[in-house]
């Protein structure tokens, strides 16, 4: 851990003695090996505690840390043992080994090599035919072609895309709050990343797209609402990189200060991810003060923040769910609309058929009340005696009018109720007000017998009157009693019919004691249909409210208590300028003379039919897809150049001076200055700050591009050797670890840039080396001289990561579902400690990269093997060894199922012969044949298990399941040599 401190000490000594520091940094030489004395440590600690005075001055001067320089030109050295090497990479490695009297291990055997390459490049084991083919291929370039085959497999993009998703902090949830809300569209970014790796997209371009895809799209003609090309879509998807950080602003409550903090946290998280993923720097340390270890001033942190601020404007915030754009080709949209219309038709057909059935098969009832408003064909409707005898502006048992001003029965002036053209007009003005009219009669809304019912229905003739705006709701009441709440409460149940679907149910409406009871039904209120509610006795003083559309019950129902339903009238609600016309009001009850068993028969038939109906509707609903083209993206909230301020000690309320967007001073060049001047302002609508930053970062030949190249090749190296040339791959600065092979790192970075930032080229270069191809078996000299293998005298023995274990087991058992892309496969929390993927869900056997990555809900099987619950991002996985892993391998449903499938596969592939099955099993699981001793213990085990189980099962299948499971629990499977 002291390497960083040692560098600092060296710097301090340089400072004190006034010597040039060029020797340390530019050549990247290792600092002295001897540990610091206690006094030196104390001195350093005090210096650091004092805020490391002097550091920034030195570092921003002409000399500086190796990682902040332009790429050097290093020719591969000439080690004495050059013959052991294959490529220039080896010459760098061997020359370091030379110095310690070590050399490279011999090449690993072929089956080890193909397993290593296959897992490294695709995250999956080599298939048996791939192994056979490679082992038989005696051509000189057999290895290279094998590497190329894996590089061109679509599985490659899934594997390396997943690595990038770790680094980019990808998650399918917003995190931060325990709500951890969903990011249903994040998958489009995941798929973009996988496609980009498969296409070997130049990495600098990949970075520019993620930082400023929206602005890049505009430079080539994208306009919101304009013609959409696949290229535009890809660029817009790429910007999701900037919203991988946690963003809890959709769930924030509390006071404005805290909401503001949450917004800043999202902005800061994004900057932190940019720092560690692209720059290899912990930028966040400069938020409150100048960075204590790196040459980054606090001002520079806010200059970088100013790049992102227009997109994450805390004064004009957009919550995650609102950060989207619709961009789909006209063809896709037309297809979707046609599909939707077809589904609409099918739904309508189902509903019509059900309504017809219901009318024919319903239980016959008795009409308790009806008003057809027929006697009103004459002009003087106010004189209609019926209107006055049947309806009232007060409710039964409550003398005061229902609401003020009271509704005038017979008046066409709002609020009024008048019969005209044989229908009743509900006329309300714009004024708010809880008013109503009611039947003068009251009804018993709680029929005595179980399954007995009472219902009220009406025709909705029109949802407006004489050109008034369409009523936002069609409100009607049942159990109208004590409207003014003088008595005990209860009654006055409002059914608020919604044109968008269903009716909200409010008990004891209006008044402060009013309570929602949920909603009933599903179909919306449209003119020309009949609506209403049916109350059915469910027994035990519970009554079910069903929605009636065109005479038939439909959709959801709610159940309420008898006490909510006193005897009372039926009526219509007056509110908020909602005028509408109704006709044929009918209140009907079940026939008390009906035999209870008949009633039960009707109820049962109806329940069965409704179940079928709702299943049918659900099946149709499941076929619906969201309107295509919704992309979760990032763009500037406006094109104005916003003022961004330095915050005093990072305090969100303490704004100091304004800052301008800029890159880092330490990485600026004369021809690539840190000040960012957006140049595309004529072409693009946004501020162009992110595009200017992306171009600054990837400017050919610049220091910033050198850093990006180094960070990236170091990470590629890390994935192939288990550790980077700089082991702190998120931190290449002063406080990171020094590189083990600094010249090699620069040489590789230069090749990376030279190859147009081709990641696949880097794989070829690294994988061709003898350093990569060597065996991982230890030797005496290496163990003594370099026990940590920093000099690479052998290849590392690495445990498979979580995804490779899960995906590998699925591939081995023959069950892997290779479908690519699309929305995530949901995970499920079974209990506080248990998260799984439902084995019966359609994507249960897809690759792990497609499983839902909800931050707080990572499947146990992956989590136990160190899959991250992403907070910011994950630049290096842990590789722990804990008993919970053993429990998962021995006892989990997942392991058991894979073992059963493998046992079945062995029978399919190799027939009944025991030895053939053992051979096949070792080839599938470990990529090689069994050794003689392995074969012996396998046979013994199989015999033993068969005997053990013979009492319970007829054949020895169970023994083969156990055998398969143990092979997949063995270290030989879990580790790659």
């Amino acid at each position: 851990m002291c390497s960083a401190l040692r560098i600092l000490l060296t710097m301090l000594l340089v400072l004190v003695s006034g010597q040039s520091g060029a020797g340390i940094a530019a050549e990247g030489e290792m600092p002295p090996d001897d540990a610091l004395s206690t006094d030196e440590q104390k001195l350093l600690r005090r210096w650091i505690e004092d805020g490391a005075p002097g550091l920034s001055k030195t570092a921003s001067g002409k000399t500086g840390h190796w990682a902040f320089q332009r790429l050097g030109t290093h020719n591969p050295p000439q080690p004495t043992d050059a013959g052991r090497g294959r490529t220039p990479v080896d010459r760098f490695v061997l020359s370091k080994l030379d110095l310690r009297g070590l050399s490279l291990n011999p090449q690993a055997d072929r089956s080890t090599l193909i397993r290593r390459v296959s897992y490294d490049l695709t995250g999956l084991p080599p298939a048996p035919d791939e192994i056979t083919r490679f082992l038989a291929d005696q051509a000189d370039d057999a290895y290279q072609r094998m590497v190329d085959r894996y590089l061109s497999s679509p599985r490659y993009g899934e594997r390396w895309g997943n690595h990038w998703l770790d680094v980019a902090g990808y998650a399918d949830s917003n995190g931060y709050f325990s709500a951890d809300t969903d990011r249903p569209l994040a998958y489009r970014y995941r798929d973009y990343v996988i496609r980009s790796f498969n296409a070997d997209k130049p990495f600098d371009q990949f970075v520019r797209e993620q930082l400023a895809g929206d602005e890049l799209a505009e430079t080539i003609g994208y306009r919101p609402g304009g013609t959409i090309t696949p290229r535009f879509i890809e660029l817009l998807e790429a910007t999701h990189f900037l919203r991988n950080a946690q963003d809890g602003t959709d769930s924030s409550d509390g006071n404005p200060d805290e909401v503001r903090t949450d917004k800043y946290k999202a902005l800061e998280g994004t900057l932190q991810i940019i720092g560690s993923s692209l720059l290899g720097l912990k930028l966040q340390c400069a938020r409150c003060h100048d960075h204590k270890f790196e040459p980054i001033r606090q001002r520079e942190y806010y200059q970088l923040q100013a790049v992102l601020f227009p997109a994450f404007n805390v004064d004009n915030w957009i919550v995650p769910q609102k950060r989207f754009v619709i961009a789909a080709s006209a063809k896709r949209i037309a297809e979707w609309e046609a599909d939707s219309a077809k589904l609409d038709d099918e739904v309508a057909l189902l509903q019509t058929r059900f309504a017809e059935w219901f009318r024919k098969n319903r239980e016959p009832g008795l009409v308790a009340f009806e008003d057809r408003f027929d006697k009103s064909d004459r002009p003087d409707a106010t004189a209609d005696p019926d209107a006055n005898t049947k309806w009232s502006n007060s409710v039964p048992g409550d003398a005061s009018p229902a609401g003020t001003p009271a509704v005038q029965i017979g008046s066409a002036t709002a609020p009024g109720a008048v019969v005209e053209k044989a229908a009743l007009r509900i006329i309300e003005s714009g004024a708010a007000g809880d008013r109503g009219i009611s039947t003068k009669r009251k009804f018993d809304w709680t029929p005595d017998a179980k399954n007995a019912w009472i219902q009220a229905t009406f025709d909705l003739v029109a949802n407006s009157v004489d050109g008034s705006p369409p009523a936002a709701r069609i409100g009607y009441f049942i159990a109208l009693a004590d409207f003014n709440d003088r008595g005990e409460g209860g009654g006055n149940i409002l059914l608020d019919g919604n044109p968008a679907g269903g009716a909200a149910v409010d008990l004891d409406y209006p008044g402060s004691d009013s309570k929602s009871a949920g909603s009933i039904g599903q179909q919306g209120y449209q003119s020309g249909h009949n609506y209403g509610v049916r109350v059915t006795n469910e027994g035990q003083d519970r009554f079910r409210l069903d929605h009636l559309v065109d005479g038939a019950v439909e959709g959801k129902s709610v159940t309420i208590a008898a006490s909510d339903l006193p005897d009372g009238g039926f009526g219509f609600e007056y509110c908020c300028g909602r005028s509408f016309i109704v006709d044929n009001v009918v209140v009907e009850t079940s026939d008390p003379s009906l035999d209870p068993s008949d009633r039960l028969m009707f109820a049962k038939k109806l329940a069965a039919k409704r179940k079928k109906q709702s299943d049918g509707l659900k099946a149709l609903a499941a076929q619906r897809t969201d309107k295509p083209g919704k992309i979760a993206w990032v763009t500037d909230a406006s094109s104005e150049s916003l003022d961004v301020y330095l915050l005093d000690r990072g305090d969100y309320k303490a704004r100091l001076e304004k800052v301008q967007p800029a890159g880092l001073t330490i990485l600026s060049d004369p021809d690539n200055p840190s000040e960012l001047r957006p140049t595309d302002s004529k072409v693009i609508r946004t501020t162009g700050r992110r595009l200017a930053f992306a171009r600054w970062l990837t400017q050919p030949g610049s220091k910033s591009a050198a850093v990006l190249a180094r960070v990236t090749v170091n990470r590629i190296w890390q994935r192939h050797f288990g550790r980077g040339i700089v082991s702190t791959s998120d931190n290449l600065g002063y406080s990171g670890s020094p590189p083990s092979h600094p010249k090699l790192l620069d040489w590789l970075a230069a090749r990376f840039v030279e190859s147009s930032w081709s990641v696949k080229h880097m794989h070829r270069l690294i994988l061709a080396s003898a350093a990569y191809r060597q065996s991982s078996v230890p030797n005496q000299a290496g163990r003594e001289i370099d026990p940590d293998n920093r000099l690479l005298w052998r290849h590392a023995l690495r445990r498979l990561d979580a995804e490779s274990i899960r995906d590998g087991m699925l591939a081995i058992s023959g069950e892997l579902d290779r479908r690519m892309g699309g929305p995530y496969v949901p995970t499920k929390r079974l209990s506080p400690s248990e998260v799984t993927v439902d084995e019966n869900s359609p994507g249960a056997r897809r690759r792990s990269v497609y499983l839902q990555r909800r931050r707080t809900q990572i499947p146990n099987f992956l989590k136990v093997f160190d899959a991250p619950s992403v907070v910011f991002n994950c630049t290096l996985r842990d590789s722990t060894t804990v008993p919970l892993q053993s429990l998962a391998l021995m006892n989990s449903d997942f392991s058991r199922r894979r073992a059963a499938a493998l046992a079945a596969r062995l029978r399919r592939d190799a027939g009944a012969g025991r030895d053939a099955k053992i051979t096949r099993a070792f080839l599938l699981v470990l990529g090689r044949d069994a050794t003689r001793e392995e074969r012996v213990v396998s046979r013994t085990f199989l015999t033993q298990q068969s005997a053990e189980y013979s009492a319970q099962v007829a054949d020895d299948e169970q023994a083969w399941v156990d055998f398969s499971q143990m092979l997949m629990a063995s270290n030989a499977f879990l580790y790659v040599e």
Binding site: M1, I48, F177, S178, Q246, D253, G254, N255, E258, K265, K282, Q284, C285, K292, S727, T728, N731, G736, S737, V777, P778, D788, R790, P832, S833, E834, T856, N860, D866, S869, V871, S879, T880, T881, V882, P883, L884, S886, L887, A888, M890, N891, S892, R896, T931, E933, V937, F941, Q944, Q945, E948, Y949, Q952, Q958, F963, M966, S970, N971, A972, Y975
Partner: protein, 474 residues
Amino acid sequence: MESHFPYSLNRRSFLGGSTGALGMLALAHLLRAESKPPATADQRHLTMGAATHHRPRAKSVICLFQHGGPSQVDLFDPKPALTKLDGKPYSGDLEAHFDKQKGNCLASPFRFTPSGQSGIELSELLPHTARIADEITLIRSMTTESVDHESALRLIHSGTFSAGSPTWGSWVIYALGAENQNLPAYVVLSDPGGLPVDGGRNWSSGWLPAVYQGTPFQTGDAPVPNLMTPPNVTPGARVAQLQFLDQLNRFQQRRFPDNSELKARITNFETAARMQTTVPSALDLSSETQATQKMYGLDNPITRDYGARCLTARRLIERGVRFVQLFLSGQPWDTHSENAKTLTGLCARTDQPSAALVEDLKQRGLLDSTIVLWTGEFGRLPISQGKDGRDHNRHAFSLWLAGGGFKPGYCHGGTDDVGYRAVKDVVTVHDLHATLLWALGLDHRRLTHPHDGRPTSLSDPELTQARVVPELLA
């Protein structure tokens, strides 16, 4: 070693080499009760006391966590002045969490009486806690920094607002390790009714290695995932499985004799097999006497759930678990409305078992070495929210500790007349962290781990001015 971390999981065997034949040991543990695993030399980091900075008073912790912010003026902090002001506007400046409302003063409807020899005044809602008044250290002057649940939870659990930092239990086991290799060192007993607010973050190891995270145990048949041998695998078949696996692994290990991780993985199968019996037996409350079960309220449906978790906590501590934290589901103490009614119900659920735990530990001689901590994440306001609720308050809350070297029958600090703000002998959550660690033999300034390029600690004293509060210790 060129690692950034001084402590690398890749390179250290947690459990050391195993000497016995795996099959035999596994058989013993599958078919019989637990036995002690062989101690080995390679457990430096995981041995009690090995990493303490000074003589420890306590070796383990039970935290009874009361999510939501228990109301101090109704439970622990009597305020006669508030009673006089009941229904009147509050004259001073006061920070309400939910902006719009600012109600009048709301007196506690509950009577306070002096309890025990020490005469600590406690609410009538806590008759059982009153019984253990002479065992507890009551702090009335706690403060925290946020009135947002999640932030305040993170602050009290990990010393910082932001997610992703290690929780206190992680720090404790990082320093002191496990005493019993057959059980996790840091166990979380969460409510069968559901996860607490902020879920697994409450026991996350943050950026410390994952092995230091809390392991949630559930009540019921499956306290940890995958603890049960698959139903169709007979004990004999399981033993043979483990033997076969052991053989395969030893063949492979011969090629890498220097690799301690492979060795650890081999012994882990042994440990896992032992856990299959030790965990269920640790959680099996039926072996407790009727009297003990009754003491914890297991005979009463109201106290049963919480009581079972308190009793389980004692059993785990007895078996050498270092840190046990108990949770309620959701955030029940968050009494924005019906404060008095909700508190009455919650105290009926929790008061008896909490007190029983302290008494039981004492009678078993475990209280001296075990710290019991009863706390929420913040307090509540003396004014009303709506008709009968109380809003969040970060300026004052109360908590109690018992055992583990804390001063028994002692009441520390005080608040202003109405209980809004801690004014006397203020204790911050950071001071609480420093003092807890101190009692465990750890110096909060020296218990650090490199993170973000600097040594980082639970209390972060440079930033927080955290200090040990000596008055709290006996």
